[in-house]
């Protein structure tokens, strides 16, 4: 990180030295703008940015996908906020974002501290990272098997005298189970990122701690935390962005999804958007569906800006 910044400032200084026009290689490079950046720019603008702007536009209309679009202003937003289903989905998204997020962070940080100087660190790190590469669908399907009435959990509990185990996959219990599954499968990824941050701390800081007689808590408070603060910030931003997208695991969780739509108690805003637009069970309401998506985007933007403000201030250079 610090190397990049010095290199950049060096090149900036060099550019300033050469004067406004830059060297011939710089001038030549500048001509490559269109052939080099053009294709990426066009594809990205056409199939990502324009749809995103289109979403904001559609959310102001009442539209069933075909036929005329009727401009209704912010009515769709008012409508979704009065919709109990949306409020439930939104609440679930917030639960994922904050409760699951907090659990992941506490666990990941604890794991990082234990892992930091433990034997076999690499093996552990490699194993706990792997779930990140697996489609969350897989966990949803597996959970259905593990928690079904004759499944593994209940057979495990039987020897302990639990003869009437809770109905794990009852509609009201599914969402807490999803949350637990997400904590179990995502913590490893964030541990890996935090580890990369903690590993960057030069060992002589710890030596200094030992010489100064700092205890474990003081070392954590005055060395490890301040020096990994920016990594924490990055992780928080990452989780904010990815938690709002959570869809697959809810879609198949428990495999009990009846008509193909998960029980409404476990919906998130992503599921709400998808079902409102594409379920085929009622007239698609594209306006309300995109309004829900735009609300999640607003949530992400606000939180990311807030996190950047809150976490940026004392990034320590070392």
């Amino acid at each position: 990180m610090s190397r990049t910044t010095t290199r950049r400032s060096l090149s900036a200084a060099a550019a300033a030295e050469r004067g406004q026009g830059g060297s011939s290689i710089d001038r030549q490079r500048r001509k490559l703008l269109v052939p080099f950046v053009g294709p990426a720019f066009i594809v990205y603008t056409l199939l990502f940015i324009i749809p995103a702007i289109g979403a904001a536009w559609i959310s102001l209309h009442e539209w069933a996908g075909s036929g005329p679009m009727k401009f209704v202003g912010v009515k769709n937003y008012i409508r979704v906020f009065q919709d109990d289903l949306f409020m439930k989905s939104f609440g679930n998204t917030l639960l994922l974002l904050f409760v699951v997020g907090a659990a992941i962070f506490i666990l990941a940080f604890a794991m990082t501290l234990v892992l930091r100087d433990m034997a076999g660190k690499k093996i552990v790190r490699n194993v706990i990272f792997f779930p990140h590469l697996i489609n969350a669908l897989v966990f949803g399907v597996l959970a259905g098997f593990i928690f079904n009435p004759g499944g593994m959990v209940n057979t495990l509990l039987k020897p302990f005298g639990v003869t009437e185990p809770p109905a794990w996959l009852a509609q009201d219990n599914i969402f807490p189970l999803i949350m637990a599954t997400l904590v179990a499968t995502t913590t490893g990824y964030f541990t890996t990122i935090l580890m990369a941050g903690v590993d960057r701390i030069p060992p002589y800081y710890y030596e200094d701690c030992a010489l100064a007689g700092a205890n474990a808590w003081q070392r954590l408070r005055y060395v490890i935390l301040p020096l990994t603060w920016d990594v924490f910030g990055t992780c928080a931003v990452l989780w904010t962005i990815s938690s709002v997208k959570i869809f697959e695991i809810i879609w198949v969780f428990g495999g009990s999804s009846g008509a193909g739509i998960p029980p409404t108690q476990s919906w998130t805003t992503a599921v709400y958007t998808y079902v409102t637009a594409f379920s085929g069970q009622s007239t698609p309401a594209y306006g309300a569906a995109t309004a829900s998506a735009i609300i999640s985007l607003a949530l992400v933007s606000v939180l990311v800006v807030f996190l950047r403000r809150a976490m940026r201030r004392d990034a320590v250079e070392f």
Binding site: D26, L33, V43, I134, N135, V138, P203, D230, I241, S257
Partner: protein, 314 residues
């Protein structure tokens, strides 16, 4: 104590304590490491270490268990979920492959993943190179423009994309899906590769320029070979992302013969609501989704973790 007597030894020891190889070598190093770097041995810590190894054991066991169950028939899976397969019976895989349409889905997924990941990197690499080498207000703006996409969740662009692609007959088409994947991966790939190109030394390029190579030739013959590692990392990260992508594929693809693996898996799960649970076939399907990722992870694991953490580390 060693810190006081021989401070210059510290940098030498530091790498040792980090590249901890388990077993004999580690324990030998242990005494040489200064007290500050030595793990405190208290109870909480031991519990933590124990729990971590438990997590590792359970994770590996789960994976193994899933693969083993794929070789048993549904009835024996249900009657004893802890049982072992009696013989190497591939009938689940055959059934998933034929009845569950996993064959075409696997083919579609492999093609889509390979094509879209390749084109993503092919488009993003030059763009990232330009953004990393030319400093101007325009490139700063462009970098920001690309990074913006990182924060936009897929469900936002879902409906407009569907409408747009429908107009040009690219819904229910793997070409359309590929295009969407390429566009959707642009932010992350450009971001990652820009960071990577910035970390490459400029001297070689300057030397090439002094020798009279054009900027384009410098990029193709000097920078690209140097950047092979970073580009491979970006490619593999996209392979993982596109192989697992579900929401867009579920929306944009409707006909069975164009399903990608996650969509086929969902439809297989949903069929069971009507035709009774076929856990054997389902486990086989899960294996088809998971095992290629395991292979890639074993083969290129370090690149993946480094790419993801470096890309995030700023």
């Amino acid at each position: 104590m060693s810190t006081l007597t021989a401070p210059d030894q510290v940098p030498n020891q530091a790498p040792d304590s980090r590249t901890d190889t388990p077993g004999k070598k580690r324990s030998k190093n242990y005494r040489g490491v200064s007290p500050a770097l030595r793990a405190e041995s208290n109870i909480i810590r031991s519990i933590g270490v124990f729990l971590l190894w438990a997590v590792v054991a359970v994770s590996i066991a789960m994976l193994l268990w899933m693969v083993l169950q794929a070789f048993r028939d549904t009835r024996s899976i249900l009657s004893s979920p802890w049982g072992m397969p009696e013989s190497l019976d591939f009938s689940n895989f055959v059934r998933a492959w034929t009845v569950g349409d996993f064959a075409t889905a696997t083919f579609n997924s492999v093609i889509t993943t390979a094509v879209s990941s390749f084109i993503t990197v092919a488009l993003a690499a030059p763009a990232a190179y330009y953004l990393s080498r030319v400093e101007s207000r325009l490139t700063n703006g462009l970098s920001l423009y690309f990074i913006l996409g990182l924060g936009i969740p897929a469900q936002v662009i879902l409906i407009p994309l569907f409408v747009m692609l429908n107009k040009v007959y690219l819904t229910d088409s793997l070409i359309g899906l590929n295009l969407v994947y390429i566009a959707g991966s642009m932010p992350f790939t450009v971001f990652l590769l820009t960071a990577f190109f910035r970390s490459l030394p400029m001297e070689m390029e300057e030397a090439a320029a002094l020798d009279g190579a054009t900027a384009l030739r410098t990029f193709v013959q000097i920078t690209l070979p140097l950047a092979k590692g970073g580009i491979l990392t970006a490619f593999v990260l996209q392979v993982v992302a596109h192989w697992n992508e579900t929401l867009l594929a579920l929306t944009l693809i409707q006909s069975t013969e164009k399903y990608t693996l996650p969509v086929a898996l969902i439809s297989f799960v949903q069929q069971q609501t009507y035709s009774g649970a076929d856990w054997g076939g389902l486990f086989a399907g899960l294996c088809i989704v998971v095992l290629p990722m395991l292979a890639i992870y074993i083969w290129l694991g370090r690149r993946l973790t480094e790419g993801l953490t470096l890309g995030m580390g700023k």
